[in-house]
Amino acid sequence: MTEQTQNGSANGRPLLEIKDLKKYFQVGRESLKAVDGITLEINKGETFGLVGESGCGKSTAGRVLVRLYEPSGGEVLFGGKNIHEAKGDEGKVLNRKMQMVFQDPQASLNPRMVVGDIVAEGIDIHGLAEGKKERLDRVHELLETVGLSREHAHRYPHEFSGGQRQRIGVARALAVDPDFIVADEPVSALDVSIQAQVINLMKKLQRERDLTYLFISHDLSVVKYISDRVGVMYLGVMVEMAPSEELYANPLHPYTQALLSAVPIPDPDVELERERMVLEGDVPSPVNPPSGCRFRTRCPYATEACGHEEPVWREVSPEHWVAACHCIT
């Protein structure tokens, strides 16, 4: 928490610098603007939470950051180097330093491989173990680190429960000793009691190994709990970014306010007294996003001017950024 936010930029530059990142997909003759210019920095040892509804571009952004996609514009610097220009050995090193944990542990583990081989795949590719013995020792150590036992190395993914499979996914990511992990909805497919197990595990590993996380989720309570800073995305752009406590205590953008207000709180008395801001309608298509402010079609405060005035991305208080329109002073 505090020790995490303190370091980072203190020792020079942030671990990750994302500048005006864009990712478009070609859909027939049109282009779908999944990510349309996001700028942020992620510091070493921190957890940056990315929230938003389906289709807002949060997963695409995460995938561009670990080089699964080439960006359509902008750049990503990792330790000062542009990751999408790295080639050969340099690229391989980056692949090792940046790992990903996926949402559906069932779909992201090869059903025909035993867990030991799944976990060791990265070790083999990057030649991190000399000889069979060392390889096996590392696998055992990794399984124990994530709360499984060494006997599990010989079993297949289908023999595990959802929570255990997600632990295997985490072990696989850790196997190559990464600096940065993108976790894309890592607990969404799990039951609440199991969710807490995986979240606690991720927090523990971060403390022990000084990991940096990009935590992508649609669950605002989980994101708040795990993240140091949170960014809110809507239709490919970032609408607000602030330290976690600040964002939840003092949301400025109407979309952030609506999103927070829509989350049901597991406390009946609180729910009874809550004034809810229910948004009308649905998210427009990212193929043809609204002009000016993208949120204006659902914004309760929208005026005519919102159709041609682009909101300005600015820092309204220390570390609190917002896509500022007329309703933010």
Partner: protein, 343 residues
């Protein structure tokens, strides 16, 4: 039980449902007793595999006929046991009297059929309306569930609707014959939060206007807190605690309910403290434990918990829990302090 908030419209008594599979008999529901009162929302809460959906589907008799085994119990609706009705009699109940809304609106709509026809179908079938009458009523229904331009929308196919709008269509179909009971199985789980808020609002509104009774199946305690009147908590095929929403959230009596409440990150949670997960995994339904289903994961488990199923202890007119800790010989265990809103 049924005296406090009016009469029971549906009573489920000691329901036991199994499935025969290659792996053996899966005992999905192992004795569930609850009732639904007129005009209320009863939430059945539980994790995957707890039996909540199977119990709900049994009311509609929607479990696959080929491998479902009814091991016992009854479901009384209008003086009759639904489990014993003929399939033909069931047709008069399924839809007109008890309707259901499922989790994924895309799979419950026919992608090759215009939305209008999907609504009109049941109006003609069950209410014997003429084509014109049914079309008018269908437009009314779409307006009722908040879909604008109803006439034009009726001519469209499901893929032309967004996720939230599709779920509204599904609700419109469920309401077509003015059912007394609506069973909603994770109706908002596939939707984004802002859309979820719309749908929950709609359900509340419809309940007020039409006086329906709702069984809400969900794993999301936030959704429960904002919509339900009473809660039944299921675990390992059994209902381990029932009570009013306030009783379950503020004075829960069973360690599983404690664990469930403690493991959700609250917006007000202190980030420096670890969440309190429930260790281990749920029981295997092909070989369920002999005693309390939660015993293997329960931090307070005693020897008897593993050997014998606990009976219900009653705490108020509504509140009961099945736990040996409430036996007079059991040690006194304090409810952990860190439970949602614990006052």
């Amino acid at each position: 039980m049924a005296t406090v908030n009016g009469e029971a419209i549906l009573s489920v008594d000691d329901l036991r449902i199994s499935f025969s599979t290659y792996a053996g008999e899966v005992q999905a529901v192992r004795g569930a007793t609850f009732d639904l009162r007129r005009g209320e929302t009863l939430a059945i809460v539980g994790e995957s595999g707890s039996g909540k959906s199977v119990a709900a589907r049994s009311i509609m008799r929607l479990n696959p006929e080929s491998n479902t085994i009814v091991r016992g119990g009854e479901i009384i609706f209008e003086g009759e046991d639904l489990l014993k009705l003929s399939e033909k009699r069931m047709l008069d109940i399924r839809g007109p009297k008890i309707a259901m809304v499922f989790q994924d609106p895309m799979t419950s709509l026919d992608p090759t059929m215009r939305v209008g026809r999907q609504i009109i179908e049941s109006l003609k079938q069950h209410l014997g309306m003429s084509g014109r009458q049914a079309a008018e009523r269908a437009a009314e229904l779409l307006e009722l569930v908040g879909i604008p331009h109803a006439e034009a929308r009726l001519k469209q196919y499901p893929h032309q609707f967004s996720g939230g709008m599709r779920q509204r269509v599904v609700i419109a179909i469920a309401l077509a014959c003015d059912p007394q009971v609506l069973i909603a199985d994770e109706p908002t789980t596939a939707l984004d939060v802002t859309i979820q808020a719309q749908i929950l609002e709609l359900l509340r509104e419809l309940q007020e206007r039409l006086g329906m009774s709702i069984v809400l199946i969900t794993h999301d305690l936030g959704v429960v807190a904002s919509t339900a009147h009473r809660i039944a908590v299921m675990y390992g095929g059994k209902i381990i605690e029932t009570g009013t929403v306030r009783e379950i959230f503020y004075t829960p009596q069973m360690p599983y309910t404690w664990g469930l409440l403690a493991s959700i990150p609250l917006p007000t949670a202190d980030r420096s403290q670890d969440l309190i997960p429930i260790p281990g995994t749920p029981p295997d339904a092909t070989d369920p434990p002999k005693g309390c289903p939660f015993a293997a994961r329960c931090p307070y488990a005693m020897r008897i918990c593993e050997d014998e199923v606990p009976g219900y202890t009653t705490f108020s007119d509504e509140h009961r829990a099945a736990c040996w800790l409430h036996h007079q010989m059991a040690p006194n265990v304090e409810r952990p302090a860190r439970i949602t809103g614990a006052k």
